[in-house]
Each structure stands twice: as C-alpha cells, then as structure tokens.
C-alpha cells in the first residue's frame, strides 16, 4: 500500500491527491509526526490552507 502511494508520488510529484493518500496512510497507521509533516507539505507545496480541500 505504502509503496504504491510512493510510486504514485514519484510518477507525478506534483499530484496533490497522492500526498493526501500518503497523509491518510500515516493517520490510519497512528504515525502523527509523518501525517503532520505531510499536512505541512500539502500546505506549502499547493499553497493550500485547507489540506482536505482536493480541488486543485
């Protein structure tokens, strides 16, 4: 699962959806540091203050 998501990111490192999936993976697996880091990455990379907003 994790490898598949990472492959998606490597395929297209500008695809917000893949980062959201990765963030969810870490949330589901109780890894808050990683989920929080991805949250910040989504905000910075996509200039998005609401990381749950997948409109881009």
């Amino acid at each position: 699962m994790l490898t598949k998501i990472l492959l998606l990111i490597i395929e297209n490192p500008d695809a917000k959806n893949a980062y959201l999936k990765l963030k969810k993976y870490y949330e589901d697996n109780n890894k808050p540091s990683e989920a929080e880091a991805l949250d910040r990455l989504i905000q910075k990379k996509f200039h998005d203050n609401d990381p749950n907003n997948n409109s881009q």
């Binding site: 490898t3 990472l6 492959l7 297209n12 990765l22 880091a37 991805l38 910040r40 990455l41 910075k44």
Partner: protein, 308 residues
C-alpha cells in the same frame, strides 16, 4: 565520578584539543596507547591522564577492560566534545550527536557501569543499547576517522562468515577507498545475511548513490529509494537522491518537486530520532539543485520558443 577512556596511536596533531575539551568534565582520563612514535604520550601526560599498558586483545576487549565503576565516557583522539553535558540522575546509557564531514550520527558514548552495557565488534568497537536516550547538549565534533585495515576486516569477515556486521564495516571501508564493485558485493552480502533496521536502510541509501553516480543504474537507485522512503518519509537524503535520479534523466520538473519535498519534509525530522543525517541535504543541496532545475526548465522553454 566520570572516567573517559581514549585509545591513542600517533595522534599528536589532534589529542591536545580532545583532552582540553574533556577537562571540564573533571573526571579521570584513562589512555591505552597503541605504540605511538610521535609526541602523543608526552601531550597526554601533561593532562595528568592515566596511561595504562596495552592490554592484549581486540579493541572491544580492551575498552571493556577499561570500564570503571560509575559513569564511563569514550571519545576518539581526533574528536572534540563541544559542550559539557549534564550527568543523568539515573544510571543508563546516553546517545551523543557526532558530527563528521557534514554528517551527523548518533552514538552511545556515556554509560553507567551498572547497566552492564559492553563494547562489541572486535575492530569497529561500539556500544549497543536499545534503551539509550539522548542527552542535552551532547555534541562531539570529529576531525578524522579510524584507521581500518583491509586485512583486519577480511579476517573478521572470514572468521564470522554468517555474521552480517563485518560486511557492513568492510562495505564502508571499500566505499571510502572508492572500490565500488567490492562495496556493492559486501553491501549486498550484509543485506543478504540479515542486516536490518537503520543500518540496512543506510546501506541501501549508499548502494543507490553508487548505482546512480558510479554505474549510472538509475532504476536500481529509484527502487532502493522507494524502499528507504517507506521506512522513513522524513529523510531528506532519500528525496534528494530521487531528485538526483530524475535530474540525471533530464526530468527537471519532477526533480524540482522531489528536492522541494526534501526541504519541507526534512524540516519535520525530530532532533532525537536515531537516523543519521547528511546535513547539506536538508537545505543547501536541494535549494541549489532546485535553482539549477529552474534554470534548465527556463532554458528548455526558451529553446522551444526559438524553434517556433
């Protein structure tokens, strides 16, 4: 009382600073000298260190013989302790941050004899304790490295053919000696023999570096980095290497984005995590590469515009 142990061998250029840095600990200094022919011993005596006769045995055996009741600390004769650290209230072992050549690693350097932690590895001696905790202001700056001999590493590997550890150290010896085919052979042997955890991911990282830069095997480097990232997504080194792979493939937009990930995710790494850190990969290197990608992308756009 704290006892610092140091093994010396012709370290006249660096030992003075090492000893000056540990003086504020106000403890005992025990030296075992491996036959220095320079002024090392004269310098050591000025500091009132206790020079004990060389004990027969490998480095771990010697270090274990030097352990004293109470707190023990070890430092190499080319290292400098940057800050005086607070002694913990409870007996345990403590991790220090050792900075060498812009790489930061974490090693157990301070321990209480009552914990019964002992050195292992006959050549590259080290302390292993899963319960080691970080200690505040624990920085050691290193200005050199152990003189490893290929023959000693060979005899260690040949004497323990099913043990992964000798291959780990011999692989890095070959890497430093730029013997890349030998490095790949030993790195793979280390992984085959069950090397696990952070050492295994570190090995995969260096394997990828060699595959990418020496043998131009971009695909192998990318595959290894996916495995490494699945272990720790916050390692800027892994994102940078992926960026490098796509940079090599002239895919600059992709590389730019991966370098950006290195900066943003790398920022979130906890200071106290046990992973090593290649310091420039957290800011200066990916920034420089992003700038390069940007310029190349603008150049590509310009060329396309000219063709039209």
């Amino acid at each position: 009382m704290i006892t610092t142990q140091i093994i010396t061998h012709n370290n006249e250029k660096t030992i003075q600073k090492t000893l000056e840095s540990i003086l504020p600990l106000q403890g005992k200094i025990t030296i075992v000298d491996f036959g220095s022919t320079d002024t090392t011993l004269r310098i050591v005596e000025k500091f009132g260190a206790n020079v004990v006769p060389r004990i027969t045995g490998d480095r771990s055996y010697i270090r274990n013989q030097l352990i004293q009741p109470g707190w023990n600390f070890y430092i190499e004769p080319w290292e400098v302790l940057i800050n005086v650290f607070p002694i913990p209230e409870q007996p345990r072992s403590c991790l220090f941050q050792v900075i060498s050549d812009q790489t930061l690693i974490k090693e157990a350097r301070l321990w209480h004899d009552s914990t019964h932690i002992r050195f292992n590895n006959p050549i590259c001696e080290s302390l292993h304790d899963f319960n080691s905790k970080f200690i505040e202001n624990s920085i050691i700056f290193s200005n050199g490295h152990s003189e490893l001999s290929e023959s000693a590493l060979d005899s260690w590997a040949n004497g323990s053919p099913t043990l992964s550890t000798p291959y780990y150290y011999r692989a890095f010896f070959y890497l430093q000696s730029q013997k890349y085919k030998e490095f790949i052979r030993d790195a793979n042997q280390f992984l085959f023999l069950g090397g696990t955890g952070i050492p295994a991911y570190t090995m995969k990282y260096y394997l990828s570096l060699v595959h990418l830069y020496v043998f131009n095997n971009v695909e192998i480097a990318i595959k290894n980095m996916i495995i490494c990232l699945s272990a720790n997504i916050l390692m800027a080194e892994f994102w940078c290497l992926l960026g490098d792979a796509f940079y090599k493939l002239n895919q600059y937009a992709k590389a730019y984005s991966l370098y950006e990930n290195a900066i943003i995710l790398g920022e979130r790494r906890l200071k106290s995590d046990p992973w090593p850190m290649d310091i420039p990969k957290y800011k200066s290197y990916p920034r420089k590469m992003m700038q390069s990608c940007k310029e190349l992308l603008e150049g590509e756009k310009f060329l396309i515009g000219t063709k039209k």
